[in-house]
């Protein structure tokens, strides 16, 4: 007998009929379960929000007054006839894969995830399931990340060289998650770390929930460049190259993103350096994550969906592409 699937893909988002809720919906719904606080997953206008305790502060900071409820990793909540639990996705602090069990059938919506332990977020925990919904932002074999320590060495060597030459190092990175991860990778012994307001606002929220970050100074119009020789400035990519940067005199700019793997994108962004560091799984990471779930049915969302699902199909999975309105294929945006 054909039965209603545990999760289905609607024009509002990923829907669970058994619990009458949505996961990361992109249009307003009554009840939303949110994997993490990035803008394409946690949107404004839902009746109620459920997210991990660690993810909620940022979501509240961004969306203001919302009706919300926190949940711990691993805690099981019954909604209608569905059993729901949140498990670390390793993407950013508080990010979760959402597991939904109905009559013994297990589905996992993984939101965005990465496999490597970044030392900041709770590391990814594979969940056994029958149906797995995966992103494919970097679902091509040309995307393979080097270990974080190796990239951290490159990053600090670059900063040290800039400081030695009397230049300011401008580093562009997404303000939630990536920026804090970089802060933990940087060697504060090299010089002062200045932050753009957007980054510092997120820092304050995360510090408030007990996440340890090195000392940073928020950049204002009164910041004296001369008093901050050898500084590194951490800002959203869109803020680099604006007028305030010029006050700092000679400088070099860099971006930190998975897209920096591609020389063409790096050159187009016109930065001096590109550091390949992503909060999404690389090609081997996606494949190992999928393998570890033991799932036979894979739903591929945002990214190189067609290619990735074809590869999965050829290798024995039942894979299909599902359209979503998550960030997706975007080499020009700031996340990833």
């Amino acid at each position: 007998m054909a039965h209603t699937p545990v999760l289905s893909f609607t024009d509002h988002g990923i829907y669970c009929a058994a619990g009458d809720f949505y996961i990361d919906p992109w249009r307003p719904v009554a009840r939303a379960l949110i994997t993490h606080g990035h803008a394409d997953h946690a949107r404004w206008g839902h009746g109620s929000y459920l997210a991990t305790h660690q993810a909620l502060p940022v979501i509240q900071h961004r969306l203001g007054e919302i009706a919300c409820q926190g949940i711990s990793y691993g805690e099981v909540l019954r909604i209608g006839t569905a059993e729901v639990s949140f498990h670390p996705a390793g993407h950013v602090p508080g990010s979760a894969q959402i597991k939904v069990v109905v009559e013994g059938e297990i589905w996992v919506a993984s939101g965005d995830y990465k496999i490597e332990d970044d030392g900041l977020s709770d590391p990814f925990e594979p969940q056994k399931c029958h149906h797995f919904i995966t992103e494919s932002t970097f679902g091509l074999p040309v995307f393979r990340w080097r270990p974080q320590d190796a990239v951290a060495d490159d990053l600090n060597n670059w900063w040290r060289k800039c400081a030695g030459e009397g230049k300011t190092a401008f580093l562009g990175a997404y303000s939630l998650g990536k920026a804090q991860r970089l802060l933990r990778m940087l060697d504060p012994g090299i010089g002062p770390i200045l932050t753009h307001g957007a980054v510092e606002a997120t820092n304050a929220v995360l510090r408030g929930q007990g996440i340890d970050l090195p000392t940073t100074v928020q950049l204002t119009k009164d910041t004296d460049p001369k008093a901050n020789k050898g500084a590194l400035v951490l800002a959203p990519p869109s803020a680099l190259g604006s007028a305030w940067a010029k006050r700092f005199g000679p400088g070099e700019s860099a971006f930190a993103s998975g897209w920096m793997q591609l020389r063409g994108v790096r050159r187009r962004r016109a930065g001096d350096r590109g550091f390949v560091i992503s909060d999404h799984a690389d090609w081997p990471g996606l494949l190992s994550a999928i393998r570890e779930t033991g799932a036979e049915n894979i739903y591929v969302t945002h990214g190189y969906t067609d290619v990735f699902s074809r590869y999965l199909t050829e290798n024995g999975w039942r894979a299909e592409v599902v359209p979503t309105e998550f960030g997706g294929e975007d080499a020009e945006g700031e996340a990833s």
Binding site: V142, L262, G264, R267, D272, E314, A331
Partner: protein
């Protein structure tokens, strides 16, 4: 290869010209001389002959990466560079290699003599011992096209700093038909007489576009004018009883233009002319269109029939060498006088013609010449300062092209394709259509004219509005109207629309214009009737 890869990184990881120049200068002072020579060769487009086909490279890379070939092929357009795609999909290098650049190049060239299994073994081994940038550079040595943000000008400047020689002299030394096998660093850079090679051309002097009115250039007597022809720029060298024809891209084209051989009968040895190669029928008032010339450019050797159908002449507009003397420092007016003496009285059947001067007393008179350019099969007029020397490269101030305003038509975007290199992963190559009743008939492609921000915006739109994919090409919802600018229009039976455009590009994104108001095939045919 480590030094060369380090140089590559230093250049690639910085956007500032001074940093790039300094890195190159240091390399030209310290690297082994053979490697320096090859570096100059690579950066000026002289690459080793391709020893392995790209088809084999793709197959071997996919095999070594343990991925299906189709997956490799899907990845390639995203990366936008074959050498880079291969470097990225392969597993990490297991060891390292101390072999230097020249040795790698020589080994690669040796592959032409061995059987395919040995080639494959060599390439696979290289991929195992070269990591990161070294592997990318190695792949570039095979696939060619060594463009890496170093212009010839920048390289010449670095060489000048490294060797304490004037830039202009080095630019001249680097011109022409040399190859690392037949010369050495010392012979190329330090030898006494750079003219020893009879075929060596002079660096071309390039002009800027004149934006706005010419009145701002000052008083008219200081300026001379001639047609801005729509052919290809060429330098004709007559030395030692031989002749050589060079393109602006430093390609030796002598064999493509055998009719110019007769120039040696009319002009003395020790003559170098700068001019425009055009197809010009005997007795015709004006040259034929660029289309006619295109048939000739494509051929390495010319069949008799084509030679008769599309005879080429050189419209000479400058004299760089006369009686064996380099006269580039003489004022333009003096060079022109000598040019008129040399070419003014040539018989009608000589393959070299004196490009006519366009006399004018006022800027309005020049504007009148310009407005007659289309009838003369020219793109506009050239304006040259009478006391200017013949400089090297693109320098502002003395030479200006004042082109006709382009023709334009409003067209609908129907297909999009991602670009390469710097434009990888961005939709930049579009196909445009005009209305024919209720159908959209494709008539041209265009790649340029939008800003990076506009390309980003249209890229996001293409992703959301793809109707169908044909490999790398996406059919999109007809929605956006662009103004296409072009220099000329010709009938073309090969195209579905029946026309071919010259230099099409996007001049404006007409977001104000509804789809239905784009132009029609009838409009295009009317333009063909008037301007074709």
């Amino acid at each position: 290869m480590k030094d060369f890869a380090a140089l590559f990184n230093a250049i690639d990881q910085n956007t500032k010209t001074t940093v790039k120049t300094n890195a190159l200068t240091a390399y030209f002072q310290t690297a082994p001389k053979r490697d320096r020579l090859w570096t100059i060769a690579l950066f000026s487009g002289r690459r080793p002959k391709r020893a392995v086909t790209t088809t084999r490279l793709r197959e071997w890379a996919a095999e070594m990466a343990d991925i299906p070939l189709w997956l490799f092929e899907e990845s390639y357009p995203i990366v936008g560079d074959l050498a880079e795609t291969i470097a990225l999909v392969l597993p990490e290098a297991q060891t390292t290699s101390d072999i230097e650049l020249t040795q790698w190049i020589n080994d690669l060239r040796g592959l032409a003599q061995v059987e395919e299994p040995a080639r494959k073994a060599f390439v696979r081994n290289a991929w195992q011992v070269l990591g990161g940038t070294e592997r990318f550079v190695f792949n570039k040595l095979i696939t060619g096209g060594f463009r890496m943000g170093v212009s010839q000008k920048l390289m010449t400047r670095a060489l000048a700093k490294a060797t304490d020689k004037p830039e202009a002299e080095l630019a001249h030394r680097l011109m022409g038909n040399w190859h690392p096998d037949q010369t050495s660093w010392d012979a190329l850079i330090n030898a006494e007489d750079p003219m020893a090679d009879a075929s060596r051309p002079y660096p071309f002097y390039l002009c800027h576009s004149l934006e706005g009115e010419p009145a701002r250039l000052g008083a008219t007597p200081e300026w001379a004018a001639e047609w801005k022809w729509d052919g290809i720029r060429g330098q004709l060298i007559l030395r030692d009883g031989q002749y050589f024809v060079w393109s602006r891209g430093e390609e030796l084209m002598t064999d493509r233009f055998p009719e110019l051989a007769r120039a040696v009968d009319f002009l003395p040895p020790g003559t170098v002319l700068d001019g425009e190669l055009l197809v010009w029928q005997a007795g015709a008032e004006t040259p034929s269109s660029f289309n006619a010339l295109q048939k000739r450019i494509g051929r390495k050797t010319v069949p008799k029939k084509l030679l008769a159908e599309a005879p080429v002449v050189l419209q000479a507009y400058d004299l760089l060498e006369w009686e064996g003397q380099d006269i580039r420092t003489h004022p333009f007016a003096a060079r022109r006088t000598l040019l008129e003496q040399a070419c003014g009285l040539l018989p009608d059947d000589a393959p070299v013609k004196l490009a006519p001067a366009l006399p004018f007393d006022t800027w309005d008179a020049l504007a009148a010449h310009r407005s007659a350019a289309r009838a003369a099969q020219a793109e506009g007029v050239m304006v040259k300062r009478t006391d200017s020397p013949y400089l090297v490269g693109r320098k502002k101030g003395d030479w200006w092209k004042w082109k006709l305003d382009p023709l334009t038509i409003d067209a609908v975007m129907i297909y999009a394709q991602a670009g390469h290199g710097r434009r990888a992963n961005l939709f930049t190559d579009f196909t445009f259509a005009v209305w024919n009743g209720n159908d959209l008939v494709p008539f041209t492609k265009a790649y340029s004219g939008l800003t990076d921000a506009e390309f980003r915006e249209i890229t996001a739109w293409v992703r959301k509005n793809t109707l169908q994919r044909f490999g790398p090409v996406r059919q999109v919802t007809p929605h956006h109207v662009f103004e296409i600018a072009f220099e000329g229009i010709q009938a073309s039976p090969r195209h579905k629309s029946g026309v071919a455009l010259r230099f099409p590009r996007m001049s404006r994104w007409r977001q104000d214009k509804p789809l239905q108001e784009a132009n029609t095939l009838d409009d295009l045919n009317e333009m063909l009737r008037i301007y074709g």
